[in-house]
């Protein structure tokens, strides 16, 4: 298909989204990621029966906690798609990359964020 999506996307392979721990998601942000998405199987079609349901719960919980932590909840998202939906995966990857650009560097990286905000202000003023 040779579909294109942003080269900033980094993929980490796991056997099932059920393996995704809240700790992993938090650590990705701590490491400097501006947005993270969890791509799981369609609901009801989990090869391991309920893994994606567990992951959905964890992602939803963390999104809620993000508001208190001062992070935009849009930086984290879970998507459900089948292995046959390559085009949709590329579209989702692209959407998350665009979201990250729109939201700018995450508040976890205060210096980068400050520089980005200053640049944004300058661009809108100029």
């Amino acid at each position: 298909m040779r579909l294109q999506y942003s080269p900033e996307i980094r993929i980490i392979l796991i056997p099932c989204t059920g393996r995704v721990d809240i700790l992993h998601l938090l650590k990705a942000f701590e490491g400097g990621a501006d947005a993270v998405f969890v791509a799981g199987c369609l609901e009801g079609e989990c090869h391991y029966l309920t893994g994606n349901i567990q992951a959905r719960k964890r992602v939803a919980k963390l999104k809620k906690d993000f508001e208190q932590m001062g992070l935009e909840p849009e930086r984290l998202e879970m998507f459900n798609l089948s292995a046959a939906e390559g085009a949709r995966f590329a579209a989702i990857a692209q959407e998350m990359a665009e979201r990250a650009y729109k939201l700018g560097p995450s508040p976890v990286k205060p210096e980068q964020r400050k520089a980005w905000l200053a640049a944004q202000a300058q661009a809108s003023a100029g």
Binding site: R10, I12, I14, P15, C16, G18, R19, V20, D21, I22, L23, H24, K27, A28, G31, G32, A33, C46, H47, Y48, L49, T50, G51, Q54, R58
Partner: protein, 201 residues
């Protein structure tokens, strides 16, 4: 000769001018009607599957929309199910003639024999392992495992996960509040190391 028809263009059976049978069917490759003059017309009765929902759920094997069982792969594993050690043959699979059913049953028996002939069965390395030192016997893994694999081993007062039964999904690993379970090849330290390395790059 086999001519496929679709439901919009069903074959027409008529009495010909000379009193014989005439079947007109649209050939989907030619795109033209084909007229046949048979001596005898036999209709195959419909084959509907037995109620398979309960059986399918019990053995965790997939079924298609009609209720027939699905093989693991139509070309590469035609008599296997996706789950190890379960095989299928005959009308449970799809409507087929008796000779095909017998051939498939022989194939299924052969596949079962290859499995049974092994002195030892190797299992995948991606399995969850409990650290008995950290396990608080909270039963979280017992409750969350979609395959009901974890059990409590009272000899060591910790959960035990049979590596031969573990499917390796990692749900228990992420749910364990004491971080007493690790999924081999996907341990927390491995995943975090990947994340930090990628985020830094």
């Amino acid at each position: 000769m086999f001519i496929r028809f679709d439901l919009e263009n069903k074959p027409k059976v008529e009495q010909a001018a000379d009193g014989g049978l005439q079947v007109t069917v649209l050939d989907h490759i030619l795109g033209l009607p084909v007229v046949l003059r048979p001596d005898l017309l036999t209709l195959a009765s419909a084959v509907v599957p037995n109620p398979t929902e309960e059986l399918g759920e019990l053995f965790k094997v997939s079924r298609n929309a009609e209720g027939f069982f699905n093989e693991a792969h139509a070309k590469l594993r035609p008599v296997d199910f996706a789950s190890d050690g379960i095989f299928l043959a005959g009308l449970a699979h799809y409507p087929k003639p008796i000779d095909e059913s017998i051939a498939q049953a022989k194939a299924a028996a052969g596949r079962a024999a290859t499995f049974l002939a092994q002195d030892m069965v190797q299992v995948g390395g991606v399995v969850a392992v409990v650290d008995p030192e950290k396990c608080a016997v909270c039963l979280t893994c017992v409750r969350t495992c979609p395959f009901n694999v974890p059990v409590i081993d009272y000899k060591v007062d910790a959960a035990y996960i049979d590596p031969a039964k573990c499917q390796g999904c990692g749900v228990c690993v992420s749910e364990c509040p004491g971080k007493a379970i690790q999924l081999k090849h996907f341990t927390d330290s491995q995943i975090l190391a990947q994340e930090l390395a990628l985020a830094a790059g």
